[in-house]
Amino acid sequence: MGKVAIIGVGQSTFVRQYPGSIRELAFDGFKEAMQDAQITAKDIGASVICSAPEYDKQRSPAGVFAEYLGLNPQPTFYVETLCSSSSMGLRLAYSLVKSGLHDSVAVIGFQKMSEISSAESQERMGRGGDIQWESPFGTMMPAYYAMYARAYMEKYGTTPEDLALIRVKAGTYGQLNEKAAYRKAITMEMFSDPENRMASPVASPLRTGDCCANADGSSCIIVANEEKAKAFCKKPVWIMGTGAATTAVNLAGRDLFSGLTVAEQAADEAYKMAGITAKDVDVAEVHDCFTIAEMMAYENLGFAKPGEGKDLIQGKETYKEGSIPVNVDGGLLSKGHPIGATGGSQIRTVVLQLRGEAGDIQVKDPAIGLVHNIGGVGLYGNVTILGR
């Protein structure tokens, strides 16, 4: 069985309010990926559409997109694992191509979150938890991750300032990313000024500056078999490993609160499949929906020992020039987080890095890249390893 490649990547600009419908939003990411791959719709064997569906009035968006993007009569699949939907979509595309069922697949992630208010959105996101036993207590995403932050900080003595350093790094690179929704520099002084919005409490111990924001956006990844990749593409990027895991939806069903078991398990599977270890990774995109999530990712992926994530960020080791650059596109904290599109955007960044086409944020000569994408509050974990 041959290898599986990524031959095209694209994403829309992530914005607070997209001035168009969901099919038009999906078109933006798809167009860029198709132009990148230099192929046409007839070269695509199937599509995989990825989103968290409760934001849209349209039921079954996959069929609507297939038609709008010129992908009829090819079959389409719909994948949903909350915020990691498009990484799970890539895993499905990998298996569809690896099996020989399709020679190429377009993975299209999207989310138009602005169709509902921020409070409504928080309520829907909260319902990504256990609606029978958690939601009736008034839960929301920042509070769930804040519970992880509390347990993590208690265990390891990590401080709110350590978390703020992660946001400062995100701001450093967000300024350089023309597709990011938030492109302003963030300073530590903002976090120490009680009058500054960054410092205002959301759900203790997390503050506004620790949280990413909703956004509208789309992404597209074109996957192909080895034969097609070599025929179409000068610089194919190979899928070396894919890992995925699940755990209890209710926090009461979990044992670890200072890290995400799904990230550890997905990383183990992906590293084994790729035949590498954490030390071999040259550049990574991790799911920084909250600063604490990036801190835990350092450790769950093996970039740092448990409790030592703060040493990485304090020493700027996760900056572009550091030993393991992480989220040098600004991360979700700068780009915004259009749920179903996020994983595809992370994959796009790593593919551009491996091709040497990342521009201002290019890391020096990376050979292996990693994408860590989490759905819900550590309910779903996806880790993908890519190589030149």
């Binding site: 036993w133 207590f137 008034g138 509070a143 759900a203």
Partner: protein, 144 residues
């Protein structure tokens, strides 16, 4: 024309806003009305479930007993919310938390009369039934 059967939708009383009304463990609400928070225990394998479940995925049976949550648990983690989702704004501020009883854990709220400065990870707390201002029921963690 037969009379339409009344649905057992007691679970709609659970929490400030319930998103579930019909479940096979609706007696949980009756127990709460009587001041008790209950887990379920599989009669076949003895496993205790909280939140309570109607079915045991290990034995593939539905032979469950009710078992009362008693004694104290250790506070694993918590967060105090300054913003709330739609429908929960009147409860602000409030803290959600996880309490570890050893055999199982409970996700709930910290009682509103526990001062913030007295809340510490690792402290012993107990789970008690709480009547909300809107006549709904939930459970909260109280100091011991």
């Amino acid at each position: 024309m037969g009379k339409k059967k009344q649905a057992d939708d007691r679970f709609k009383k659970f929490g400030t806003v319930s998103f579930t009304s019909i479940t096979k463990i609706n007696d949980f609400i009756q127990y709460m009305e009587d001041g008790k928070v209950m887990a379920t225990k599989c009669k076949d394998c003895g496993l205790i479930f909280f939140p309570p479940r109607a079915d045991c995925c290990q034995c593939l049976t539905s032979n469950m007993d009710w078992a009362e949550v008693s004694g104290t648990g250790k506070l694993v983690t918590y967060s105090k919310l300054e913003y709330a989702p739609v429908g929960f704004g009147d409860d602000l501020p409030y803290s959600i938390a996880v309490l570890d009883y050893g055999d199982y854990k409970i996700f709930g709220r910290i009682a509103s009369d526990v001062p913030d400065e007295e809340v510490r990870v690792g402290m012993e707390m107990k789970t008690i039934v709480n009547k909300l201002p809107n006549e709904q029921l939930n459970y909260v963690f109280q100091k011991v």
